[in-house]
């Protein structure tokens, strides 16, 4: 079987092309173009999935030059899983955004219309990143994603959003440069930018290690790990809802996925004890810190944003859990991937629901949302499903992920991490119950279209449907793997760079 030349590049080129198109089209075409474009972009992932499923991993080199000189794209099970995840999120966000941003009354372009080009470019960048196998290409795509993220935040147009965008851009620039310095050192040590070729060069080497450490530091800033998270909550909470969904649902996962890739391309040989411990401690601190701050917020979107800080902390525990070469290692990785994806899906859904409430009620102040459940039952239900995931309660993927990691922490006898994980679950329960306490009040404040000083235009029926359906579907998607849990797991093991476990197989449980 010969792969078509566009197989791996189409998922990148198509969103970029739609980015240009939506920049040029007149305003009243945009919602439709956005929806159709999203469907096409998502469809571009289907052939990739088919290929991986039937023929295994695939290398392609855009530019026609193979790895040491050119850039290689590499599609394996993990990349494919994340492509599917991106496509699903992309579909949901696009349909939601098409309903969220109202068409301008006289057909002229407004600032909202810039959402589409920026979002499609972000989409293309994320797909490119998941496929990339080249250290410098990763730098460029990371910058592409951050800069378009800044633009997306700016769509809100408030001074708070501008300030958040400024901070976001500053951290992105610095993180990118730190990462780039690391890439330069690694390149000078091993003479290649390709991840796979780099991991073949087994001898650690001083310069390579230093470069790896710098790259890790850069990615940690991008991933918003605990002491470097300062920019995240403002940016995520002050943006408009579709943008929050993009940033919290998709963009946050990106740096983590890249870190795992680099980890297995040689990072794990470097400082085998110190670095994982450090990441574990920072992750734990993030879980607690994010949770505590989420408890103190008075706005729904702020609560969700701080919850992202907390959940990102969980992901980094994975590095601490695997440094013992214990038999349960693979379990941790599978768990982390499940957790990443489920967090992305539910955080996207939760921000969509929060945006719906904000639009319907004119504010996302918790106090003003009293009794919302009566008026907007579906939105609150989405939030409920999301909460089940965030807390890590049984029928959800979040539970599966956290359970796997918990189990690994027992295996490696890291009781401290186990306590933090359980405590983090309790914390998230606390801050989410605080939200629901308000939402589920039997009676709210006197309802009226304008509250909090903002004039509210009532949502039309079709607008509500188009906004809530994607949110609901994304939230429900996290419950699916309970039925088909072997499917993603089987996909993950194709061309696995990570030692994914075969925990499902009978007798395979360590």
């Amino acid at each position: 079987m010969i792969a078509s030349p566009w197989l791996l590049t189409l998922p990148v080129i198509l969103p970029l092309a739609f980015g240009v198109l939506t920049l040029l089209f007149p305003s009243d075409w945009l919602a439709r173009t956005g929806r159709h474009g999203a469907m096409l972009c998502a469809a571009a992932v289907v052939p990739c999935t088919r290929w991986v499923w039937q023929a295994g991993p695939l290398h392609q080199s855009p530019g026609g030059w193979t790895a040491p000189l050119g850039i290689d794209l590499y599609l394996d099970g993990m990349a494919c899983l994340f492509l599917i995840f991106t496509a699903v999120m992309g579909l949901g966000i696009s349909f939601y955004a098409a309903a969220y941003y109202p068409p301008s009354p006289d057909g002229t372009r407004t600032r909202n219309d810039l959402f589409w080009p920026l979002w499609f470019v972000t989409w293309g960048g994320i797909q490119s990143l998941f496929l990339s196998q080249d250290l410098f290409n990763i730098y460029v795509t990371l910058e592409l994603i951050s800069v378009s993220g800044v633009g997306l935040i700016l769509i809100a147009g408030t001074p708070g959003a501008v300030r958040a965008a400024l901070q976001y851009q500053m951290q992105a620039l610095i993180a990118g440069l730190v990462y780039l310095l690391g890439v330069g050192l690694v390149y000078n040590a091993v003479g290649t930018l390709d991840l796979q070729l780099m991991s073949d060069q087994l001898q650690p080497g001083l310069m390579k290690n230093t470069g790896m450490a710098l790259m890790t530091a850069g990615l940690l800033i991008k991933a918003a790990l605990f002491p470097l998270h300062f920019w995240l909550p403002k940016a995520h909470a002050d943006a408009t809802a579709p943008v929050s969904a993009v940033l919290s649902g998709l963009v946050v996962t990106v740096a983590f996925v890249m870190l795992t890739r680099i980890w297995f391309a040689g990072l794990h040989q470097l400082a085998p004890f110190l670095l994982p411990k450090l990441l574990g401690i920072l992750g734990s601190a993030g879980i607690v810190w994010g949770g505590v701050l989420a408890l103190r917020q008075h706005r729904l979107k702020r609560v969700l944003a701080y919850s992202t800080v907390s959940q990102v902390g969980y992901l980094f525990l994975v590095f601490a859990l695997t440094f013992h070469d214990a038999p349960g290692q693979g379990l941790v990785w599978t768990g982390a991937v499940y957790l990443t994806i489920s967090h992305g899906l539910v955080k996207g859904a939760a921000f969509m629901a929060a945006g719906y409430l904000q639009k319907a009620e004119g504010t996302d102040q918790l106090a003003a949302l009293k009794g919302c459940a009566r008026r907007h039952p579906v939105a609150v239900m989405v939030l409920a499903v999301a909460s089940i995931n965030l807390m890590g309660l049984p029928p959800s993927t979040g539970f599966i992920g956290k359970w796997m990691m918990l189990k690994a922490s027992f295996h490696t006898q890291q009781w401290g991490l186990a306590v933090v994980m359980l405590g983090g679950g309790l914390l998230s329960a606390a801050y989410l119950f605080r939200v629901f306490e308000q939402l589920l009040q039997p009676s709210g404040p006197p309802s009226g279209p304008s509250r909090g000083g903002e004039a509210v235009t009532p949502l039309t029926r079709s607008q509500s449907i188009w906004m809530l359906t994607p949110a609901m579907l994304l939230a429900l998607a996290t419950l699916l793997p309970v039925l088909y849990i072997t499917l993603p797991d089987a996909l993950l093991r194709i061309g696995a760079p990570l030692p994914f476990s075969d925990f499902i197989r009978p007798g395979g449980t360590p």
Partner: protein
């Protein structure tokens, strides 16, 4: 005897470090922007000088290409931050401190 590439590599490292210190330790956004520029220049200088490490023969063109890309990315990021800063100044008179 040290080669000129080594001299510039070391200079680049210290320029980068000075810039990084500026970004982290300063509060004023404009100074941070200037510092991030210096940080970037230092990083680029390190990479270019490292590309010249081999004592004879031409320098390695791959880092040169990387840095060309890096310069353009850095200048666009700088421009974006400056535009944001100016905008904040105009629209939000309460926020003249410029410290986030």
């Amino acid at each position: 005897m040290p080669s000129s590439a080594l001299i510039y590599t070391l200079a680049g490292i210290w320029i980068a470090v000075i810039g990084l210190r500026g970004v982290l330790a300063e509060e004023h956004v404009f100074r941070k922007i200037v510092a991030s520029n210096i940080f970037g220049s230092g990083v680029f200088l390190v990479l270019v000088a490292l590309a010249r490490r081999a004592p004879d023969g031409p320098p390695d063109p791959v880092p040169h290409g990387m840095i060309l890309t890096g310069i353009v990315v850095a200048v666009s990021a700088t421009a974006l931050m400056l535009a944001l800063l100016g905008h904040l100044h105009d629209t939000d008179p309460d926020d003249r401190e410029d410290s986030p």
